[in-house]
Amino acid sequence: MITFMNNSDSEEEPCNERTSLMSAESPPVPSYQDGLQASEAGEAQAHRKRRTGGSCNPNNITDGEAPGTGVPVRESTSENEEEELTLKYGAKHVIMLFVPVTLCMIVVVATIKSVRFYTEKNGQLIYTPFSEDTPSVGQRLLNSVLNTIIMISVIVVMTVFLVLLYKYRCYKFIHGWLILSSLMLLFLFTYIYLGEVLKTYNVAMDYPTLFLIIWNFGAVGMICIHWKGPLQLQQAYLIMISALMALVFIKYLPEWSAWVILGAISIYDLMAVLCPKGPLRMLVETAQERNEPIFPALIYSSAMIWTVGMAKPDTAPRGPSQQTWDAAEDGRENHRSPSHAASQMSETSPAPTRAITSLEELEEEERGVKLGLGDFIFYSVLVGKAAATASGDWNTTLACFVAILIGLCLTLLLLAVFKKALPALPISITFGLVFYFSTDNLVRPFMDTLASHQLYI
């Protein structure tokens, strides 16, 4: 696999990451807000009527509380109403993000557990030149810290580069870059992955069949991600790409470096999104100013786009189950990963800029939440590493999984409260790391002893 390292610079793409989590719900631009208020005014009236007139049978606990707390809340400003709507959809959105993250993690863990290839050490990426085979602990620690610094700086450089390109409107370049890297991901990594899986299960497959399968997979993937396609398929492709990328990371990052990198990435993420001069924040704000979607490729969206343009306001799209995606709101996203070049696209509509005006005609709005692909990848890296290297096997993996999900929940809660782009990594990764190390070292001996005596707590 040494040849891997000399691979084209499309390899570098994967290292570009930005993360921020944003909900597609809060209106970024004042003009949009007015539109939103107008369209929601009718809804608000209906709500008010329903609320004040409603008599429900609350359970005995909230008996006295409901009417009391309900009324003042309802008469609050429209901003609060919007907040209520936001939070009302909160649980559903959390689940909409839980499912893909869980799927991605399951794929990664299943692969790690079954395919030997991804746990063998066959070399390292050029981004992590310092080896960890040194005899002394201090040296090893130093090497991993140096590796981390190099990796993070590569990421920062890539991100800044991307932001500059975006600022100066070199869209073609960006699109070309993304297409190239998604091409590489879809074809090369899939080929390797498939090869290894077939090897593990001792299934023979001839080259023509393989070629056909991979070609179809890749072509459909490219179309789905960069252009139009059914939402489920697009989501499935994004999940698969994230899983592949995570597997590559798990294989090629040396142990301690991986953990230090995870920690450093969350700190970087925090800074990049929240600091006023952070590259991610600038990217998001620029996108918002221009009312454009952030790259069609690096984001996982749980929502569908209206394909209704301004010209046809009455051709309502498929049904109440659809959700709108506000072009202006895409600012809020968790985007990560430029690395995978991912072409993770959250758009299926070719004209996102028109969506903002068509929004005013919408009767009912449901918004989705967007999560950047890099987040998927790093969550999966954490869980995959836990599965690969922990001696307490499944317990540790399970613990990390729950920790990450809870972190995601909390992040989404904060998102609903703050209503702006938020980094999705820090909380989850912190929980995940804490749980990994503590479960591995503390809980495992305890559980092992309990199990050997068959005691139950």
Binding site: H47, I61, V73, K88, I95, W394, V402, N441, L455
Partner: protein
Amino acid sequence: PALGLFLFTIARDPLRIIILIAGAFFWLVSLLLSSLIWFIAVKASDPQDEPLQKGLLIFGVMFSVLLQEAFRFLYYKLLRKAIEGLVALSEDGCSPISIQQMAYVAGVGFGLMSGAFSMINLLADALGPGTVGIHGDSQLYFLTSAFMTMVLIFLHTFWGILFFHGCEHRRWWEITAVVVMHLAVSGSTFCNPLYVGSLVPSYLLMAAAAAWAYSLSGGSTQNLRRFLLCKF
């Protein structure tokens, strides 16, 4: 069975899933803390001393039970606060989920997590070569483990309901009953591998807890009869 419970009753409503995962998280944290305590105790003591180790283990188990119940209480507090928030947010003044449903879901969360932790390594080993009980241990290891885990998951669910109900109505004796039951069940597992001593009382306790929880949730023998008769 726990998975069936999950699929049929919880997977529909996203709010319940969140509560479930949060419940599992709380259990996990309690486990973490209790194993921390045990670990410290073990490190501080002599590893060669067998009875001492066993004693420490017992101490660890009891402490863990107490911690679990403490975390259940904390979780209850959190859920109470959350319910007020949800009520304020909902459209018609009703909370989308009642405290009893929450109690149920929380119990399942706890149970699932504890069951998972108890079983999953076992299951992974079960995929390997069939060498159970070679060293003179009981041959029924897997079977009894499976049953024990199942009873424990159910128990957690029922305890969740009972506990929350007790907290709601400020009946301290209910809460202490739950704690005592939990201690009893864990204690009974100390008689393993004398399985009669542990499985039978656990199942009895589970039946008792089930009946109690059922009656608390508003059921009655009439309901039960109607339910059965309608079906058959």
